[in-house]
Amino acid sequence: MSLHSLQTLAYDVERIRQDFPILAVQPHGKPLAYLDNAATTQKPRCVLDAMMHYYTHLHSNVHRGVHYLSEQATAAYEHARDIVASFIGARRREEIIFTRGTTESINLVAASWGGAFLRPGDEILLTVFEHHSNIVPWQLVAQRTGAQIRVVPLEPDGSFFVERALEAITEQTRIVALAHVSNVLGIVVPVAPIIEHAHRVGAVVLLDGAQAVAHMDVDVAELDCDFYAFSSHKVYGPTGIGVLYGKAELLERMPPYQGGGDMIRRVTFEHTTYNDLPYKFEAGTPPIAEAVGLGRALEYVDSIGRAAIAAWEEQLVASCIEQLVQIDGVQLLGPERGRAAVVAFSVEGVHPHDIATFLDREGIAIRAGHHCAQPLMDFFGIPASSRISVAMYSTEEEIERAATALRKCITVFRF
């Protein structure tokens, strides 16, 4: 028996489900099948408890008070940073900046790094499957600096050839910003050759890891990416907090993103000196309880084991695809293999919103819409699509329920 099947054999999904109180909710009187995990994941009880414990016993403002609670709160907040650093393999804790989420992390890099270092004629390289949050911040900074945006295309059949990205990296490329895992195609992008090639021409690389960190092992030092962005709420943590990893030597050279308390060393009306990393990029009171929750969430993920979760989810995704492609009129977006936890599809003659409403009444939560990736929808020539996305607590039974409901839905809408 392979290691892979041993891992899934030992995987106790029922025990994991017990850790997530919300899974007991019964929408419209039906058992919940929560298959919208790419939008946000649910929270294990230990995360809720950690946040409650923080507010009940430790809360104060961080980095300023000399009193007991301020020390407690600061220690809890900074401990969360250590957990994050170790979770994604950052060499130094000050390379971890807490933000509001992936979106703010990317905006920080675009505004600060882009604003300082982009010049007219420089190129920002994106892919056609980027989320809007990895498109619009670059458009804003391109308008300000005169830099140009270039886009790596997909093949006509929707597959991604890494060669297309390598070809698009030129002497003018200053930054390559791309998803580590596509939130629609589900593909795990082969980023290693892209990062290597970008570095050869002196460009930096930002990875949007929003869809990656909950589903695979991520080691930023090994990847050698320059920036890595992700959101807490997509990896079982609370909303309102995210992470930007940046190489210290880059972050040191970047100007602050926002001004305020905590990010300064000395303020006069004539001149202000900034605090050291990471505080230079954390203006104002940070989301402290959320950081505590995120730290606990990452510990929880590691207690289950990322390899075990990945193997479990891989099996579910394979089964989901196998069932979907057998349904007449279902068109899978993206390849059948090489995916993380996302399966998007369109159905000929049936609109995604009708599908999502239909499934919702069965207690099945899926996403319908453009998934904040309108350029990609345009590429496929569809206004929207449906998306099933799994997490560590998803089950084969839930996938089967979704497939059954989808078949029924199609027969209702088509004659």
Binding site: P352, T357, R361, H370, A384, V412
Partner: protein, 153 residues
């Protein structure tokens, strides 16, 4: 798997029929009024054409676009309801429909005054889908007001 009562209300046979075979689907040349409607939430998009004669009567109404069953059926039923009506009457139908579809699901329905449009009221049980039903109607108001693009969010 049986359909729930709410789903059956939402997707009545008449709606599914108008979804599968929309009436008055296509462009209209010449036309006197035109507008585009767009729902950024779901990407639904509709283009509406009207031909109003000198007496102010809507002689013809057609639509194109892509959307869910609700928005398509709503557009289809709307164009049927508009033909032969004056602009004044079109406004009145809009008001009546809009009021009914955004009312509480338990509010009584004046079926006589709404006519065939009554089949669209199942959407009241589905707050996230009401905009699907109203998109064609907001596009109508836009067209009558002189055209352009309207968005519902």
């Amino acid at each position: 798997m049986e359909l729930s009562d709410e789903l059956r209300q939402l997707y009545q046979e008449v709606i599914l029929d108008h979804h599968r075979a929309p009436r008055n689907y296509g462009t209209l040349e010449p036309h006197t009024h035109q507008a585009e409607g767009y729902n950024p939430l779901c990407g639904d998009q509709i283009e509406l054409f009207l031909r109003v004669n000198d007496a102010g009567i809507i002689e013809d109404a057609r639509f194109t676009g892509q959307g869910c069953a609700i928005s398509r059926a709503s557009a289809s039923l709307m164009t049927e309801a508009l033909k032969g009506k004056s602009i004044e009457e079109a406004h009145t139908i809009f008001e009546r429909f809009h009021h009914a579809v955004t009312s509480d699901p338990t509010a009584p329905i004046d079926a006589d005054r709404l006519g065939k449009l009554v089949v669209l009221l199942g959407v009241r049980e589905f707050p996230t889908r009401i905009k699907c039903a109203t998109l064609p109607w907001h596009t109508l108001e836009q067209a009558l007001a002189g055209g352009g693009t309207t968005t519902t969010e």
